[in-house]
Symmetry: C2
Subunit: 324 residues, 2 copies
DNA sequence: TTGTATGCGTTATCAT
DNA sequence: ATGATAACGCATACAA
C-alpha cells in the first residue's frame, strides 16, 4: 500500500514536503508541488485517515445522538447542526438510538476511544450520573433543559411554551382542552403533562382521561387523534398539539369529517414548520434549526475552552393564524 | 492522557503485557493481569481506537449504504447484516443516502482512507465505472443483480419474481392488472415496469396509464392508492403491489370503503413480512433478512480472498393466502 | 510467561 | 523552501 514515504521517494522529495502539499501549506515550490501531485495521481494514493487522526489527536468528527432522523423535529435540528459543522469542516457521525440507551453508551465509548471528538445529545435516555463519567473524554452538549451545569446545554423552555399555549387557548374562551404529546414516557412529555394538569386544576376544569393523547409524532397520527376525538363522550373544545405535523393531519381529517377548525374545535400546535404556514395553523414557533446551530457552536466553544458550560434557552413565540 | 506505556509503568510490567491483557491473550500470569487491570481501572484508561486501527491495519467496521432505514425492507435487510456482523464482531457504519450519490461517494472515500474495511451497498445510485475505481480499496458487496463480476453480489431475481406474480394473477383469471412500485426512476422499478408491459402485451391487454402507480413504499401509501383506484375510469381487477406494507394499507382502506378483497379486487404483494400473514395477504416471499446475512458473509469472504466475486441469487416463492 | 524493539502512516518541530 | 527526526498509541515478532 502506498504511503507518504513512497510518494516522497518517487517524487524525489522528503515526507515533510509531501505532507505540506497534502495539507495545502504554503512555502513549497511550484515544481516540487507538481511532482508530488503527479506521483499521488499516478499511485492513486490517498492518506490513511487513522494515521492522520492519531497524529493530530483529533478526528474533526462529532457524534450526534438522536432517536430517529425520520421526524421533522429531529431532521430540522440535524440540519441546523450540519450547517454549522460544515463551516468548521467537521463531519457528523449519527447515532440513531431508536430510544435505546445502549446506542447512547456506544457513542460515549467511541468518544472515550477518540474515534469522535465530541457528542451532541439531541435526545438523551441515559442517566446523568453515567454521562458525568465521560465529562473528561471530550465536549458533550445536551439539547435539553438540564439541571446540571457540567455540560453546556441548548434548549427551549418547553414547559413555559406549553403554558403559553394553554393560556392562549384559555384566553380564547376554552376550558375543555385536550393535549397531544409524543412519547408519554419521555421527560419532556412528563413535564408538559404536569403543567397541563396544574393549569387545568387552576381553572377548575376536570381533566378527562382520554384528553391526554400519546404517540403523536407524525402526520398520520393526526388522523388517529381525530377518530379518538369523535369517540369521546366528553368532547374538548380545543387541542394543544405537540407538533405541526400532527396538527396538519388532524385538520385534514377533521375537514374530511365535515367539521371545521376553529369553529367546531380549535387547534394550537408547536414548531412553526412550513406546513403550519400553508395550513394556516396557529402555532408556537420553536427555532429548531437554530437550536441545532447553537448546539454545534456550544460543542465548538467547549472544545476550545473545557470550562465552557453555558446553558442557552432559546425563545419561542406565538404565531397567530387561523386555527384557534 | 493515559496510554499503554503509562499503564505498564505503573503496573510494573511491559507494554506487551498490558496489550496482552487488553486483548485477552493467554499466557499472562494472574497476578500481573490483576495488576494491569487495577491500574487500568485507577486511571480510567481506555485504548485509543485510532492507534489500534492503525496498528492493526483494519478497523473491523464496515459501511452499509442505504437510502433510508425507515422502511421495512431496508430495516430487515439491515437486521440480517447486523446479525452476521455481530458474529464476526464487526461494527456497522451507516451511510443513509436519501438517494443522494454524494453520500455514496463519501462512503467510498472513507473506505479508501481505511476508516472502514469495506462497504455493503444495499442500494446504489452511483455509476458502476466510478465504483470500479474503488475495487482495490477493499471489499465491496452489492445487493442487486449487477452485470459486472468484479464484486460479489447478492440479490433476488426481482424481475423473475415480478413475472411470477403477474402469471399467478393471470392464471387466476385476471387480465386487467395494475401495479404499485416504489421510486419509478429506480433501476428495479424500471425493470419491473418493462416486464409488466411486455406481459400485458403478450396477453393482449391494453395498459391504462393510471395503472402504474409510483411512490408506494409505506403503509399510508396504500390508502392513497385506493383513492386513486376509486377514481379510475377503467378499473383493474387486480393489483400487483411492490411490498406488503402498501398492500396492508390498501386492504384496510378498501374495507373502509365497504369493498372486499379478493371479491372486488385482488391483491398480490411482495416480501412476506409479518403483516402479510396477519392480514392473510397472498404474497411472494422475499428473504430480505437472509439477503442481508448473505451480503455480510460475502463481504467477509471477499476480505479473506480478494478474488471472491460470487453472484448469489436468492430464491423467492409464492405464499398463497386469501387476497387473490 | 515476559520484555525489547520495530512498524503502522501521519504531523510537527527544529534545523538548515 | 526543504529535510531529518521525533512524536502519536498500539500490536506483535522475536528473543529470553
Amino acid at each position: 500500500m502506498a504511503n507518504i514515504r513512497e510518494i516522497a521517494r518517487l517524487a524525489g522529495v522528503s515526507v515533510s514536503t509531501v505532507s505540506r502539499v497534502l495539507n495545502h501549506h504554503p512555502y513549497v515550490s511550484a515544481d516540487k508541488r507538481e511532482a508530488v501531485l503527479k506521483t499521488i495521481r499516478d499511485l492513486d494514493y490517498s492518506p490513511n485517515i487513522n494515521a492522520v487522526h492519531l497524529s493530530l489527536g483529533k478526528t474533526n468528527m462529532v457524534g450526534v445522538v438522536l432517536p430517529t432522523i425520520n421526524h421533522p423535529y429531529f431532521s430540522e435540528l440535524l440540519e441546523g447542526i450540519a450547517e454549522e459543522a460544515m463551516k468548521q469542516n467537521t463531519q457528523l457521525v449519527l447515532f440513531q438510538t431508536g430510544y435505546h440507551q445502549d446506542k447512547e453508551y456506544e457513542a460515549l465509548e467511541q468518544l472515550r476511544g477518540h474515534l469522535i471528538d465530541g457528542i451532541i445529545f439531541a435526545s438523551r435516555a441515559i442517566p446523568f450520573d453515567l454521562l458525568l463519567k465521560y465529562k473528561s473524554a471530550g465536549p458533550i452538549v445536551i439539547c435539553e433543559d438540564s439541571d446540571l451545569d457540567d455540560f453546556p446545554s441548548v434548549s427551549i423552555e418547553h414547559v413555559a411554551a406549553f403554558n403559553l399555549g394553554l393560556e392562549y387557548l384559555i384566553s380564547n374562551g376554552h376550558k375543555r382542552i385536550a393535549i397531544c404529546l409524543g412519547r408519554l414516557e419521555g421527560t419532556n412529555s412528563q413535564k408538559r403533562q404536569k403543567a397541563y394538569e396544574e393549569k387545568m386544576d387552576m381553572i377548575g376544569q376536570k381533566v378527562q382521561e382520554d384528553w391526554i393523547l400519546g404517540n403523536c409524532l407524525m402526520i398520520q397520527d393526526g388522523k388517529r387523534v381525530v377518530n379518538q376525538y369523535l369517540q369521546m363522550n366528553e368532547k374538548p373544545t380545543a387541542f394543544l398539539v405537540g407538533n405541526d405535523q400532527v396538527a396538519a393531519g388532524m385538520i385534514t381529517e377533521i375537514a374530511k369529517q365535515g367539521l371545521a377548525v376553529p369553529e367546531n374545535v380549535a387547534i394550537l400546535s408547536f414548531d412553526n414548520h412550513p406546513i403550519s404556514e400553508i395550513m394556516r395553523i396557529t402555532t408556537i414557533d420553536i427555532p429548531t434549526k437554530q437550536l441545532g446551530a447553537y448546539a454545534f457552536n456550544s460543542f465548538y466553544k467547549r472544545s476550545c475552552d473545557s470550562t465552557y458550560a453555558e446553558k442557552i434557552a432559546l425563545p419561542f413565540k406565538l404565531i397567530e393564524r387561523h386555527s384557534v
